[in-house]
Symmetry: C2
Subunit: 159 residues, 2 copies
Amino acid sequence: MSTVGFRQHDHTHCVHTALAQAEAKCKTRRLQFTPVRRRVLEILLEKHRAMGAYDILGILSAEGLGSQPPVAYRALDFLVQNGFVHRIEQLNAYAACAHPTHDHVPAFLICRSCKAVAETETELTQGRLGAAASTSGFQIERVVVEAEGLCPECVGELP
Amino acid sequence: MSTVGFRQHDHTHCVHTALAQAEAKCKTRRLQFTPVRRRVLEILLEKHRAMGAYDILGILSAEGLGSQPPVAYRALDFLVQNGFVHRIEQLNAYAACAHPTHDHVPAFLICRSCKAVAETETELTQGRLGAAASTSGFQIERVVVEAEGLCPECVGELP
DNA sequence: TTGAAAAATGTAATAACATATCATCTTGGA
DNA sequence: TCCAAGATGATATGTTATTACATTTTTCAA
Ligand SMILES: [Zn+2]
Ligand SMILES: [Zn+2]
Ligand SMILES: [Zn+2]
Ligand SMILES: [Zn+2]
């Protein structure tokens, strides 16, 4: 399954594929897939977990791609804006999108022990939240859904 | 309806009621409902909106109840831990619980224009998220559900 | 009642996360 | 070619949150 990413896998191939897809999408939309933007996405794809802006900045800095916070935040804003990366609100962190080929409402499973993050999908106006919104006349534009708990690896090893 | 709080109302009475309920609950559970904790909850009930820790600290400080960040964060941690207050992840802010009398999974509707916040409820493992969790063996302990959009007041007045 | 343990508070310092501003350079298109 | 929009460089600052340790207060059982 591609919906949940807790199992180990080799992803040198999928990093390449995702970068190529991102590049193509940018070309289509006439967006500039600049070196910093490309590298930030690549870092997030390679690490395959949520990373803070300053973690990413540290890597960029070591590579001579920029050392000040705006460098990282600008690249991340671009990637989030265009759906290549999601922001995880609970962690103040960022993760590469696992389903970049189609529009979706991301939802996350976040392990409180090992910090692994898996992305799945949800609906914009599911269940009671959607009902409450339409009852009150609230117009939902974006939904943050983030579940915290224990991943399969950690669930056996902790209280 | 009590589920959605976008309509105007007078709540001097409900502040008193909520404080009394909190006090009773603390007595039952043998928790210390100290002056700072009480006052922080009262502030959040009175303002009836999401507030940052430093907003609250400013008020506490003006009243001589403490001037350093840990004062506010400790009180907020206590109130969140015990279900009197919820943290709004998207806003890095806190709001008094609207349904303190029973256990629930809070969900929020957040107006991006006026910053009003309404609390409703949801299920711990709704829809696809729950399905993905059980498929992968992830054990959900807490869910953050926060919808961003336009409240009834603002939906007519903005693009 | 009293004394040890647990909980809460006071205080200082610092860490972590994020944005504002303005100058300069690059890119894409008329 | 030249302009305008977009991207980057660089400095400073703003905002949110935690660590650490000393002191006081509360709890609870001997
Ligand atoms: Zn995604
Ligand atoms: Zn784990
Ligand atoms: Zn609540
Ligand atoms: Zn509004």
